[in-house]
């Protein structure tokens, strides 16, 4: 709670204003994650229970799942997890620059993961598997969708944190600009994801050829334009040279975010094994 200026050696593992020395935010996150264990525990159990007793019309997940895609998504999430871990590390050393790039990296990988999921959903829907078509669809979409929502919230949080690092040190009005930043960010993210997913679909259909890519590009000209303009704006917004109000003292914020992100990653590790791999036996 202390608002005194950061002394030169901040101890990131103990907060001397609290009784136990554990920073409040960290304790809060761990308690929340304990709760989230029950959340995902019951949700995954639901899926497994329905897998245990399949209905006769149940589709064969082995035929639907794409091991390549899932594996790719898993690695993507793993790398994003590493990035966020490094971001925490960097923030504790107070290097705002590397925090920013690491956060950006996490965001990119988080979005890539979401793109994979969108892509996968698209394939499943095309194969006729919908949330209401069968029990497998119901539990699969609900489980992975809930996880995906957690990832999306995580990406939003990461983005806000990223923008937060630009908060000027003086009390200049900054909120509106930050909101603009966020909106452009969101537009770019949505546009990029859409483009990538449609490119992936094109590649899947026609093979990895220039023609396929060009075809996908043609269909998404507007989006590509939006994305390019957006990137330019983001680049400008990211060029602040002024002093910012972000220091080692904020490491705990990054760390809380990191805890959340890692946990989602770990949940995915569980999902990867019990929802995907087990079906291949």
């Amino acid at each position: 709670m202390s608002t005194h200026a950061a002394s030169d050696a901040i101890d990131h593992h103990t907060d001397h204003t609290t009784t136990t020395g554990i920073p409040n935010k960290k304790l809060f996150m761990w308690a929340f994650l304990a709760s989230d264990c029950m959340f995902f525990g019951t949700l995954i159990s639901t899926h497994l229970i329905y897998r245990l007793h399949q209905t006769p019309n149940s589709p064969d997940p082995k035929k639907l799942f794409s091991m390549d895609l899932t594996l790719f998504a898993t690695f993507v999430l793993l790398i994003s997890s590493l990035f966020v871990a490094l971001a925490v590390n960097a923030s504790q050393k107070g290097s705002v620059k590397s925090v920013r790039s690491l956060l950006l990296g996490t965001i990119v990988f988080g979005l890539t993961f979401l793109s994979c999921q969108v892509f996968e959903y698209g394939n499943f829907l095309a194969e006729g598997l919908t949330p209401s078509s069968s029990m497998f669809g119901t539990t699969f979409f609900t489980l992975t969708g809930t996880h995906g929502c957690h990832v999306a919230i995580g990406v939003l949080w990461l983005t806000l944190m990223y923008i937060r690092t630009f908060k000027p040190a003086d009390e200049r009005p900054w909120v509106l600009r930050s909101l603009g930043h966020l909106v452009v960010f969101a537009a770019v993210a949505v546009a990029s994801v859409t483009i990538v997913v449609s490119a992936a679909h094109a590649v899947e259909e026609h093979g990895f050829t220039a023609g396929a890519l060009a075809h996908a590009g043609q269909h998404n000209l507007v989006l590509i334009a939006v994305a390019l303009v957006g990137y330019a704006i983001l680049y400008c917004l990211g060029r602040t040279r002024k002093a910012v109000d972000f220091s080692q003292a904020n490491a705990i914020d990054i760390e809380s975010l990191g805890l959340y992100w890692h946990f989602i990653d770990i949940v995915w590790i569980v999902i990867f094994t019990v929802v995907y791999l087990l079906e291949f036996l």
């Binding site: 304790l27 308690a31 639901t46 229970i49 329905y50 949330p131 209401s132 029990m135 119901t138 908060k167």
Partner: protein
């Protein structure tokens, strides 16, 4: 109220540098509507919880009276089947989620930080948010009364597939079940957020010297309750999500024809539901564990064991859920396992009872009203616990499940237990909170009316159950041998209602006209009583240092030592810039409003529009984060030498 407090006439000064956008101008009103809407003071939030809870207690009680009138005589036509079903659904939902839980939360908020010697909870704005979200949930649940679809009517545990669209929605657009789902979901969010806050507060915000094994038992029970909440609510959250998916997006979770398992709902619900009943009782046990020592003038007997048994009850409580499902054909092994686990809970619970008696033993019992309610609690809870044990024997329960025997059991533990405990707590802490004391005569009169009315209402229900009367039945025939007991129960309910009315009338009168008291009217033992009444906004002028378990009792017996210590600490504290207090904020309220708008649109199946609400919510949270915790310093008039420092 704050103004009348002796120490609170204080200079304040904001923390942060001057140039702030109007968006982030922190509200500073200390009285009036705005002060309540933007408050982050745990005591004000506690009062908000308390008042809402008591209001809903009356509403729930009113619904109960309608139930009792309908059942007074056989084949009654006072209300229709449909209305009756709405009544018991809403009665239970209201009593559990809108009355007892928030009333417990009121005590957690008001008393717990005082007991651990803190100035506020760990996340003050989050605390305000939890309350507003609670109110949103309460509103959503009760909208049904005012719209065409009617109030929720699927029973308080909403067994699938009765909640599926096919059965709740057969001939008309019925959104009452959607309201129920959304209301509970939102209440869950509120409870979990509040509980996370309490956990962090208790672990991290204790005054120096307040080790865990010196925590007052009420604080311990707050901690356990908070843990039960954060660990059990996720199960119902998932169940409600699945149900919501079924209703809104045509998934199959509980669609038997598509392979859905309605029994899964029961498991998920009771994985939450059984811990929930301990969520309802542990706070009351905590209150009782404060009152009995105070009025016996002795420390709590077997403190460590009481604490440990609280933890055991909480933990075991997660392993017994299927005792609500003994009649669902689980198979012998599962039934036996849950039967034995349930019985095991009697041991730690018994330990508490024994220790409370041990506390009385050899004491000087002062029979004040809170003490009467506390003793009433011990008797009635024990009685209800015994019928719980009868349920836990699965073969016997096959005859009792869904009969009035269960209704008797749970009202004994819920009213005789939770409600008695909470009513005792109101009496006990009233002088601290409002500086006035309830008249003993009227207090005791209300106690006896409630006690007698309660027993006359619910004792006969054991017989009704054993005589085969199923619960949730709007009418019964006159040839079943149930007429007398039902009539007696209805009469009892009215005695009980009179008792409650007396109780409330006395409270209101006392608030305005009651006998004024000064510090520590009961000669109590825990820290909160060292405060002036009502406590100032910053609670403690000087943060206390705790030397023993009954901290205030120790202070009273070591006056000189403590005075010296206080003086020293006061000096250091003002050298550090005075007392730091968190700033008020609009954003918790705003975020909750966003939630309300989104939820209402969602239950009307306007999914895209609901995003508006979500947007308001996200924006409010964003501003909340951007405005930062803020804060200002209070400088007590007493030590002017340190004056209004520049910061």
């Amino acid at each position: 109220m704050e103004a009348s407090s002796p120490a609170a006439h204080a200079g304040t000064e904001t923390h942060s540098a001057p140039k702030r956008s109007w968006l982030f101008t922190r509200p500073t009103a200390k009285t009036g509507l705005v002060s309540w809407l933007t408050t982050v003071d745990h005591k004000k939030i506690g009062l908000l919880y308390g008042i809402s809870a008591l209001f809903f207690f009356l509403v729930g009680g009113f619904e109960a009276l309608l139930i009792r009138i309908q059942l007074a005589v056989p084949n009654n036509t006072f209300i229709s089947h449909q209305t009756y079903n709405e009544m018991f659904t809403m009665h239970a939902t209201t009593m559990i989620f809108l009355a007892v839980m928030p009333l417990s939360a009121a005590f957690f908020n008001y008393i717990m930080p005082l007991q651990i010697g803190a100035r506020d909870v760990a996340f003050p704005r989050l605390n305000g948010f939890a309350f507003w979200v609670f109110l949103v949930g309460a509103i959503i649940l009760n909208i049904g009364w005012f719209v065409k679809s009617g109030a929720p009517d699927a029973g308080w545990f909403g067994y699938a597939p009765l909640t599926n669209k096919a059965y709740s929605d057969q001939f008309s657009g019925d959104m009452s079940t959607d309201l129920w789902i959304m209301g509970l979901q939102i209440l869950g969010v509120s409870s979990v957020i509040g509980s996370l806050n309490f956990i962090v507060t208790i672990i991290n915000m204790r005054a120096p010297g307040m080790t865990m094994m010196r925590l007052p038992v009420f604080t311990w029970m707050t901690l356990f309750t908070a843990f039960l909440i954060i660990l059990s609510f996720p199960a119902i959250t998932i169940a409600l999500v699945e149900l919501m998916m079924d209703r809104s997006f045509n998934t199959n979770f509980f669609e038997a024809a598509a392979g859905g398992l309605p029994i899964l709902w029961q498991h998920l619900f009771w994985i939450f539901g059984h811990p929930e009943v301990y969520i309802l009782i542990l706070p009351a046990m905590g209150i009782i564990s404060e009152i009995l020592p105070t009025f016996s003038r002795k420390p709590l007997f077997g403190y460590p064991i009481i604490v440990f048994s609280g933890a055991t009850i909480g933990f075991l409580g997660f392993g017994v859920w299927s005792h609500h499902m003994f009649t669902t054909g689980m198979g012998s092994v599962a039934t036996a396992a849950f039967s034995l686990m349930t019985m095991a809970i009697a041991v730690p619970t018994g330990v508490k009872i024994f220790n409370w008696i041990g506390t009385l033993w050899g004491g000087h019992l002062q029979m004040r009203t809170p003490m009467m309610f506390a003793l009433g609690f011990v008797w009635m809870f024990m009685f209800g616990g015994f019928s719980g044990i009868m349920h836990s024997a699965a073969p016997a329960d096959a005859q009792q499940q869904d009969s009035y025997f269960v209704v008797a059991h749970f009202h004994y533990v819920l009213i005789g237990g939770s409600v008695f405990g909470l009513l005792a707590g109101i009496h006990y802490w009233f002088p601290l909170i409002f500086g006035r004391k309830v008249s003993e005569f009227w207090g005791k009169l209300s106690f006896w009316l409630i006690f007698i009315g309660f027993n006359v209402t619910f004792f006969p229900m054991h017989f009704l159950g054993l005589n085969g009367m199923p619960r949730r039945t709007a009418v019964y025939d006159g040839n079943m041998g149930w007429n007398d007991a039902n009539l007696v129960a209805t009469i009892g309910a009215f005695i009980l209602a009179i008792g409650i009315v007396v109780y409330f009338a006395v409270m209101i009168r006392t608030y305005f006209k009651g006998e004024m008291v000064s510090i520590d009217p009961w000669d109590a033992r825990t820290l909160e009583w060292s405060l002036p009444t009502p406590p100032p906004e910053h609670n403690y002028d000087v943060l206390p240092t705790v030397h023993a378990r009954d901290a205030y009792w120790y202070e009273k017996t070591h006056k000189a030592e403590i005075a010296k210590e206080h003086a020293e600490h006061a000096k250091t504290e003002s050298a550090h810039g005075g007392i730091h207090m968190p700033s008020q904020s609009w954003f918790p309220l705003l975020a909750a409003v966003g939630l309300l708008i989104g939820a209402i649109l969602f239950v009307n199946h306007l999914f895209l529009w609901a995003i508006i609400g979500g947007g308001i919510f996200v924006l409010a949270v964003y501003f909340w984060a951007a405005e930062g915790p803020g804060g200002y310093h209070v400088h007590l008039d007493g030590d002017d030498s340190h004056g209004h420092d520049k910061h």
